[in-house]
Amino acid sequence: MNDMTPTREAREAKLEGMGCKRKRVEDVRFTQGRGNYVDDIKLPAMLYGDMVRSSYAHARVKRIDTSKAEKVPGVVAVITAETLKTVNLAWMPTLAGDVQMVLADGKVLFQNQEVAFVVATSLQAAADGVELVEVDYEELPVIVDPFKSMAADAPVLREDLAGKTEGAHGKRDHHNHIFKWQVGDKPLTDEAFNRADVKIDELISYHRTHPSPLETCQCVASFDKIKGELTLWGTFQAPHVIRTVVSLISKLPEHKIHVIAPDVGGGFGNKVGAYSGYVCAVVASIVTGRPVKWVEDRMENLSTTSFARDYHMRTEIAATKDGKVTGLRVHILADHGAFDACADPSKWPAGFSNIITGSYDFPVAHLCVDGVYTNKAPGGVAYRCSFRVTEAAYAIERGMDILAQKLGMDPAELRLKNFIKREQFPYQSALGWEYDSGDYHTALNKALVAVDYAGLRAEQKAKREAFKRGETREIMGLGICFFTEIVGAGPSKNCDILGLAMFDSCEIRIHPTGSAIARVGTKSTGQGHETTWAQIIASEIGIAASEIMVEEGNTDTAPYGLGTYGSRSTPVAGAAIAMASRKIKAKAQMIAAWLLEVHEDDLVFDIDRFQVKGVPERYKTMTDIAWVAYHSPPPGMEPGLEAVSYYDPPNMTYPFGAYICVMDIDVDTGVAKTRRFYALDDCGTRINPMIIEGQVHGGLTEAFAISMGQEIRYDEMGNVMGASFMDFFLPTAVETPHWETDHTVTPSPHHPIGAKGVGESPNVGGVPAFSNAVNDAFSFLGSTHIQMPHDAWRLWKVAEKLGVTG
């Protein structure tokens, strides 16, 4: 008979469902060195590929001589654009509607561009081969400054586009122009500016940087000539999309392509795109009939496979004299490098940068974005943020601080005055979004109390006086950021990639003994999906998370999904998981009703079982039900207990947060010390607080890196400066500040479990918080806006310019 011994609490605890700090299942293998990353794959007769790269940023390729390289012992083949032309693959389409050279075809357009691919029996032999490929270049004039890109006499970068006045996103105004994208009401916005009491107008640049996960991009391609099948293991954040892209460009039928993303060592946007190395490995495997591995080194990673940001945002805000914002006008110059290979949904050439009105109730706004070509690496990926959202958040959050300074108003007060109010949600923004839910006042007020904001301002005032009296050489800054993200791309009505609607998916199979496997269209690159997805299912259908295996990344077994980036996993796949669970639950309820001989409506679900209303001792657990589903289903019912769901979200989700950074800067050295960093996040329903906190720590650390030093810089010859960990700033445990985390919970009204996504919020909110702290510190000395990154040398230069260095 039914055993009533475990208490409800014990049953609940056993589930380890949503809200619980479940320890991660992934860690068991990772802590023992038993992960299976791409570079760990070793196949019989496998070859190794290595790239010959351009030393010039812009040059004509006069001749490529591979004969010496081919004679190196161990070198099996050298592939050039000429080889690729035989299979029509010298160029490939990009996700942004442009085309991109796989290997240099006639010219090179950025330094370290892929020129030839050497395939050999060992890593070392491949490297020897690379050394001996001879390339003759004829240098061409270089453009690295996007502001010079559209000068009348600017050199033509993309000769392949000669005469094309239309691009994928409309009219091109110049040979180096990619697109112009506009949104909002220009006349009304201009009018608001004409009437404004107060205006700010500032060029706010967000410099070029790189996601740089600890594992670089890599793949193993294995073509089976007999079966005509290709298996491609790779560091892919979106394995299904890669399968479709490979099929489209190689003309191999999609069912004969098996794409597998095994364990991936971090992604942060770097592993969304399709890169030359992947195409070359696939072609090399087809040509040689052997598996080919390609692993980029760190220099290649930092200088070729994607970059992020490089947005130059002229930001204007109009306001009344008492600090009510009345209009926002922004022009963005977007440097996309040599090819437009941004990983944005098709209709959004500038991503969701129209989230730029932020958390504020702007009655009118206008945004115009011009994308241009330069002699820099292609990319423009969403580095730990939704598409171009961090750029937008930076511009508006810096802009609000600049406005506060101009008004002589406290930046917190200015924000509170202009926030969208709780009762205004769902809120239609002036630039076209419908914000789902929010409670901004509560969040910011909680943050202000938590850090004793008034006390900090008083301390700052005293310190400034002391500085002026010459008693200290340290200045103090308080950086506030209140960001609103837009994540969870996205509804099919406005989001697709290569025509694929941006849904996501989940398939759940309950086994006869009551355990389960769930397969999902996303791909964890460290977020812990194997742990959290099981928690959603556990809460939804009452099977313990420990009895649910989650599998992702294998396109043969997982349902089609658009992958993991733009914080879309929880908003989209998380919803698919809940919906698939609910289908199973509905069938389970029918079985339980039949077993208990009651009507379905007479049952209630309680943690792990259906029980008869008012008679809790009459119940069937999910384990009982699973067995019956396979053993003796009710008459007329199909056996089995499984479901699949493809979820097309009705809207995006809009996580938000209040971050406060307290910083002390030594004006004589430019060294900035983060004294305190407080981060309050509202990501709606919280699935696993431990993992959320970990995500916030990680994202804040990346924000710290980006704002305080990390940069991909070019000299005027187009040489990429510092594409190594020697020069590219990745903070160690010593520099990284201590993070304080906090939260409020405002569920998303349209998401089945109310979750909004969190992985990227800390990067989006963190960068403005750091930069605002730096700017706030210097503001009393007459400074308005200091460009990032804020490394010690640059801050010292600022201090020197302001005449306050010792």
């Binding site: 802590t31 992960g35 570079d39 594992e215 971090g266 760190r298 650390t701 960990f725 020697m726 160690t732």
Partner: protein
């Protein structure tokens, strides 16, 4: 290029293999010994993903040639668990304290922490932060790695771990 026979003791077992003079130790460990738990993040001695223990010190194995390790005693992540298969306290603590996300830096971090706790069984937070500063992590922001090491240190010393108040 001619290959040389190299012999070393790895995780308590004597092993040998052929290596070119220029073969990096990390490649020898991964490709010849098939111990893929030791990772590569840069090959330029910056990231620490390749950290192993060599003759009693933490070493970035991309910084050595395989032939330089002739006769040495090496420990990799595969040799950290106890002989009976139970996990080392550090492995347990990293899981308990959420000291890893993608797991790519983890073997190197654990190997470094393993040596650190032998050099200094009761490290302060500051000593831990400096002690692991040769190891980069892109995911965790270090805070929970530090906590994992504190947690392990406490357990290894037979003490209970008191989380520092925020």
């Amino acid at each position: 290029m001619a290959k040389i026979n190299v012999t070393m003791t790895v995780n308590g077992e004597e092993v040998s293999g052929l290596a070119e003079p220029r073969t990096l130790l990390v490649h020898f460990i991964r490709e010849t010994l098939n111990l893929t738990g030791t990772h590569i993040g840069c090959e330029t001695s910056h990231c620490g993903a390749c950290t192993i223990d060599l003759d009693g010190v933490s070493v970035k194995s991309c910084t050595r040639f395989a032939v330089q390790a002739e006769g040495s005693h090496i420990r990799t992540i595969e040799g950290i668990a106890h002989a009976d298969g139970t996990l080392h306290q550090l492995q347990e603590s990293f899981r308990q304290m959420h000291g890893l996300q993608c797991g790519y830096c983890t073997p190197g971090m654990i190997l470094r922490a393993w040596r650190l706790l032998q050099e200094n069984p009761r490290p302060s937070e500051d000593e831990i932060r400096h002690g692991i500063s040769g190891n980069l992590c892109r995911c965790t922001g270090y805070q929970n790695i530090v906590k994992s090491i504190q947690h392990a240190a406490a357990a290894l010393n037979g003490e209970t771990f008191a989380e520092a108040a925020q």
